[in-house]
Symmetry: C2
Subunit: 442 residues, 2 copies
């Protein structure tokens, strides 16, 4: 198998490690190889690393995109064995050991795929136009546009029925993203927007969080799910549990027989791995993830690793690893050790052990739920911990200072600093035909 037994020979070309994706996992690999006798090439279709956990704050106008993103080149600037290329991977030639980026071909000795996941509609991909998800910067600015435009449209519409639809917001999916989005929309409507309109009262906005399972935040302890639900309800969010969305249209959602009229629907209900399995021509699970071995190699491809949300891996106890940032980071560091050992002809590291630091989710401006081992926290103290942890994990001093400052400002003034409706009009909320009727407002 090509590349699996490469060792460095003085004067010979150094093995090349191509890392696809500069998320938490990919960056951890690249940085972990800083002292390894290899050349690292990081490929990403974006020029920045994105701190996805705070994407919902861009979507709800609390932060600017640049506050939670950092150029990949800057992160790896001082790492002399690393280079970066921007490009969208279109395939992989495992025979020749090449990554295909359109017509460009990048040869590799070791390949690490850390290409993450996208929101998915599992057979209802047509719902995406009416119910956008939240995985990329462009998703977040689109959702921000839809949210803010709904209030703008309601302000200038004279039909009470349509106003109600415009002020109904549905979030589908009760995981951390859904919980955080629903809380943030409620606070946007009741806080920052509260006094800005004349014809409507943004406080009339109705925010619904719909979860098909029996409780919110299924990855958390059950007691915290209850606390999260009550916290959201205090913010004025209607939490609907055990209800599956059977249809999404530009007029609202259907839950079986019941229909909820809403102009704005946000999808936080499911993810699908990037097409890494397809590129490799290997087996994947239902969510499109590549089944990997204990050292994150792909069966039959000893020099190809898959980590993060793209991998279906098991922890030391045989339980599937969750699709969260710490898993990707730890796997990335581990894979760097494996490659380093192989290149140097040494024995590899001990088997991978996932160290679970716990779960955090925030609900609005002063509440959060935190679970660290057996410790469970909620309320203001948990929110402070959540805030500090998120600022700490941001890359770069500037981003930390700017985000901390924005949050302090938002907290004190209830205002949001990034309430911009940008993008083209074609991205705006699709309107039903009756929307185009003549409406006189004066």
């Amino acid at each position: 198998m090509k590349g699996s037994n490469i060792t460095t020979i003085p004067g010979a070309r150094r093995p090349r490690v191509v890392v696809v994706g500069a998320g938490f996992g990919g960056l951890a690999v690249a940085k972990g190889l800083a002292r390894a006798p290899v050349d690292v090439l990081v490929v990403d279709r974006r020029n920045y690393h994105l701190f996805q956990p705070l994407l919902y704050q861009v979507a709800t106008a609390g932060l600017s995109p640049a506050d939670i993103a950092w150029p990949i080149r800057s992160i790896l600037r001082t790492q002399r064995n690393a280079s970066v290329q921007m490009g969208r991977v279109t395939g992989i030639d495992t025979q020749r050991g090449e990554v295909l980026i359109g017509d460009r071909r990048l040869s590799y000795d070791y390949l690490v795929l850390a290409t993450g996941a996208r929101h998915a509609y599992f057979g209802h991909e047509d719902w995406e136009t009416v119910a956008p998800g939240l995985k990329k910067i462009d998703d977040a600015t689109l959702v921000r546009q839809r949210l803010l435009m709904a209030f703008e449209r309601a302000e200038s519409d004279c039909d009470p029925e349509e106003r109600r639809r415009l002020l109904n917001f549905v979030v589908v999916g009760g995981g951390p993203t859904g919980v955080e989005m629903a809380g943030a929309i409620a606070e946007l409507a009741r806080g920052a927007l509260a006094s800005d309109f004349r014809s409507i009262d943004p406080k009339d906005a109705r925010i619904m969080l719909i979860e098909a399972g029996p409780r919110l935040l299924p990855a958390f302890a059950e007691s915290l799910s209850g606390i999260a639900k009550r916290s959201l309800e205090r913010l004025g969010v209607d939490v609907l549990l055990g209800r599956a969305v059977t249809e999404c249209t530009c007029a609202g959602v259907a839950l079986g027989e019941e229909r909820i009229a809403a102009r704005t629907i946000i999808w936080a209900a499911g993810v699908m791995a990037s097409p890494a399995a397809k590129w490799l021509g290997v087996e994947s699970d239902r969510a499109g993830r590549v089944k990997v071995q204990g050292d994150f190699t792909v069966p039959g491809h000893a020099n190809v690793f898959v980590i993060g949300d793209t991998a279906a891996a098991m922890d030391q106890n045989g339980r599937p690893l969750p699709g969260v940032a710490p898993v990707a980071k730890q796997a990335g560091r581990y894979v760097a050790q494996v490659i380093d050992a192989r290149v140097r002809g040494r024995s590899g590291p001990k088997p991978f052990r996932y160290q679970d630091f716990g779960n955090l989710a925030t609900i609005g401006r002063k509440s959060a739920v935190v679970e660290i081992g057996t410790v469970k926290m909620s309320g203001f103290a948990a929110w402070l911990l959540w805030s500090v942890a998120h600022v700490y994990f941001l890359i770069g001093l500037r981003n930390r200072v700017i985000v901390a400052l924005n949050w302090t400002w938002n907290y004190i003034t209830f205002q949001r600093g990034a309430r911009l409706i940008t993008g083209r009009e074609s991205d705006e909320l699709p309107m039903a035909p009756e929307q185009d009727e003549i409406r006189r407002v004066s």
Copy 2:
């Protein structure tokens, strides 16, 4: 003439002033009417007021869009007689006194058009796709995308000829925007990007500023034009004076016989007023501006005012008023006084006098030219004055703090905080056919 002699009768409907455009002029009108017995309705196609003088810093990745924009609703939140509607004006019915926004109609007693200007190509509108201008947030993020993508493309291209084209940047127009853009691109290449690439050296970038007239900054004193030119040249910008661009394509620009290969062209050479004259069916000058009377009313329409970059007005000495923010602000305040007086049945204010506070333009990170009356300044002191003035004129404490912080950070570290390539791929640099050939980089 409808609305020209309206006075308030107790119990009667208050006159309605519709202000189209929430730039410097429009906002000044709305705020100036805070205590007038009228209802003010501000209409804008965006939900934010934009601080246009700093747009070039968004285009060169120094600031985020939200740092220089502020929701119009928030600005007018506490002004009880003001409301805001988002909408794109499509026409004006002066007979019925109505502003048309698609099918919506907004009736007015007084109308103020402050809709600004757009960059224009004067008969070469097809140049826009290859040479974008800089008037809106979306323009700035598009230019930022093109600038950063040029370096990304150069890094992964193996053809030295194409690399050179990609690292050639042409700015057309030697007014303040062109001068500031050229300086900022030079510093981006020699500062923030300098160590981030491996195959190219961003310092090899060649930045050309092309001006058809005999000197840069024609609105400034001639001595300052010379200083600006030398400052730019010290930053490594090639300044070409007295050279008119006769052609723009995706491969570069032509200056008569001479051709300059460049993948990135930025247009700062001319503006065209918004179509206010067309909406009103009245006379306009060559730049599309409505010829107004001394009190900014449109001849034949005593209740319709045009101000700012959309108006062709004269100062007290019969000289045309320049298209700058202070003119728009002062005219806005004046028109508010005129309307207030008319509504109350009092005599109007004294004739308008433009108070010229001077001109400022910055050239890179520690140089600027400033002209205040007979005082001329340049260098670091002028740059400090420029920075303080711009922070001061920003709306909102948050924006002032964030911009000041960003500038301090940029100044100390030479880094840029907003180096994101966003937007769709279809917006990217149009590529010549030969660009699609197979290029191997490994």
